[in-house]
Subunit: 405 residues, 2 copies
């Protein structure tokens, strides 16, 4: 017998048929003697509908009211899921985020969890009930409804697993787990059986979309082991856990591709100390997140700097730079262009040399031009042209022995 | 300057255009220096959709979970209404039933209000904000979401008007107010300017559908004067208040028609004491509500009893009677048939004689056969055949001088 926290996303509870399917999966585990706490998201599409309705009324709706509005999505699903379980003869009861004791800071639409008591969940579970909890939401110290932002339901599940000292935490999604690369780009990608928090964080930061970094960070901080798996079949998924010695045998765990970057180049800057700091400070003030950076001192003492930003931030970044050039009395923008970031990630890099050499030689032998490079302890990333992206990803995936056998 | 509580029903907030329309009405009053608390229902149709979804999963869904589910309807509307007000530059904040301090008993789906503190509504209003409150819902002593049953949003508004000591309470609906008769049956019906709680209660019990009796009873008990008016125009509505001496000048305020009754006749009952009591006790146990009653002692010492019930309860009432006949060793059912109840209501009846005489002579001169009669201090009702209903209603409405001039 185990205490299991499960999380089902919007696709898994998209309509009443799917909700009934979730209820059947829950019942199967319960009938084997397990105790269950089930976190559910809003039905797929509901959150977008609600946002659209609000934006019809007000292009920039108040964030407190958006939280009041969006929280109804999960509240509907918890009630329907409990009702579905009852129809299978199961004891079940629903709890909103507030009722589950999820206390957050006051930052509406992107609240952070301050404390999680679990409310009466432990008592209900002990009394034999399956407790259905609304993901993505909490309350602040004034009892106001808050929401946790993107990936909030995963965070609810992981935080609850910690609070109730669950034996297992299962994140159900519409894919079989974490893959060694995006299968739409690298057909030979395979499911990873085990991955460390740190690797998954690097993958998420490198463009892999399965999990939001904040949920993984929370899991890492409190050492909550969890499994990412599909709600549409019974295949085992990917276990996400603390780094284990055995993981080092695998030098590279995955290849990540981020097709959403633009390279911006600033040239003819006065070559004075602190120039780069001023640029990045100004971009930060404008809310532009900078990813990769290269700096050269160019001809005639003029500095030259390239960086990548999210494609949506291109105009904002360029505007910020032009305003700065006026203040500095110098500098100009070269034409910006879209790039793709290709990353290899693995804790094994710490103990294995030669990863960079194999990475770059693979790219060279495939005639892929490297535009920028950035590295961390367990990651090497390059910026390349969009035309080279799929070819490069497949070649690198094969070179590091990641292809499915 | 006045503190005004308004309530807008599901039709009035049916889509974002209508919500914006409500927001404009609120702003117009606010701009004149008034303070406002606005109670809203779920968007029209939403509650039925949610019920349908739940019934897909479970024909008899758990009532606690139904309350959790249905409460989302109003929670969506309060947020959207606040967002609409913000778009007009208005300060506004939403409150769920629980946040508005509406404490109920634990009877899910038909909870009764135990206490209403108003939460921080008074403070918010004082700070210049329009407070938008979810109708129809509260919380019980354990913090569980409850709903108040049919007409619950009207009740929320009237109870809040009492709690915050409002100067005015306005119930907005899709009709111009309370009419002297249903205009679909009596085209000459006119809007009543003032009506007493008691008369409106008799009208509601007699088939008028504008207000549920429980809201009117609450208003009467705590003497909360309110106005029923249309959200689609600016016409003054009907003021509902305590009986005033001037009201007695109007002998009959309205004519009500209830087309939803069935007459059941029990004959050949053993003529023993307590027979009628047994019959009505048994019907009450079966949850059948009996309206009009006639008892005769028939031929040969056998008693004979007729009563009317809601048409939906016909089968249940007949089944209950047949079961009782077996125990009593006697009694049989005559064929049941549908009837219409026609009522005239007015506090003026207390001080004016001749109302019954005029009522019955009007029916006689129109060749309407009276099947049953029941009376209260301020009401006379007759059961007639469905064929006679419209003719009789129009004739009586004219006879008592109620026709629009």
């Amino acid at each position: 017998m185990a205490l299991i926290v499960q999380k089902y996303g919007g696709t898994s509870v998209g309509d009443t048929d799917r909700i009934l399917n979730v209820a059947k999966k829950v019942k199967a585990l319960y009938d084997k003697g397990n105790q269950l706490v089930v976190v559910v998201s809003a039905r797929g599409g509901v959150t977008n509908e609600l946002v659209a309705r609000a934006k019809t009324l007000n292009a920039e709706p108040d964030q407190r009211e958006m939280d009041m509005l969006l929280a109804v999505g999960e509240q509907e699903t918890i009630a329907l899921t409990a009702i579905a379980l009852h129809s299978l003869g199961m004891p079940a009861v629903s709890r909103t985020g507030g009722q589950a004791g999820i206390l957050t800071d006051p930052a509406h639409t992107k609240a952070r969890i301050m404390d999680i008591s679990g409310g009466d969940i432990a008592a209900q579970v002990k009394a034999g009930k399956v407790v259905i909890v609304a993901g993505f939401q909490g309350v602040n110290a004034h009892g106001e409804v808050t929401t946790l932002g993107r990936g909030g339901s995963d965070l609810t599940a992981i935080a609850l697993a910690y609070a109730v000292k669950a034996d297992e935490c299962q994140i159900f999604t519409d894919v079989d787990g974490i893959y060694s690369a995006d299968p739409r780009i690298v057909p030979a990608a395979r499911k990873i059986n085990e991955i460390s928090y740190e690797e998954l964080l690097e993958m998420a930061a490198s463009g892999s979309k399965v999990m939001q970094p904040r949920s993984v960070e929370f899991a890492q901080k409190f050492n909550v082991q969890f499994e990412v798996r599909s709600s549409f079949n019974d295949n085992p998924g990917t276990l996400v856990k603390a780094e284990a010695p055995s993981m080092e045998d695998i030098v590279v765990s995955g290849v990540a591709v981020d097709k959403n970057q633009t390279k911006i180049t600033v040239s003819e800057l006065p070559d004075k100390p602190g120039m780069a700091a001023q640029i990045f400070e100004r971009l930060a003030q404008s809310g532009v997140i900078v990813d990769m950076i290269i700096q050269n001192v160019g001809r005639g003492g003029k500095a030259n700097l390239s960086f990548t930003v999210n494609r949506d931030d291109r105009k904002k970044a360029e505007g910020t730079m032009n305003a700065l050039f006026k203040e500095l009395g110098g500098g100009k923008l070269d034409p910006s262009y879209d790039v793709v970031k290709l990353s290899v990630v693995g804790v094994g890099m710490r103990s294995h040399s030669g990863v960079a050499a194999k990475f770059f030689s693979t790219l060279a032998s495939n005639a892929v031009n490297i535009l920028m490079i950035s590295t961390s302890e367990i990651k090497i990333a390059v910026a390349i042209t969009p035309e080279d992206a799929d070819k490069a990803a497949n070649a690198v995936h094969a070179a590091f022995g990641l292809n499915a056998k």
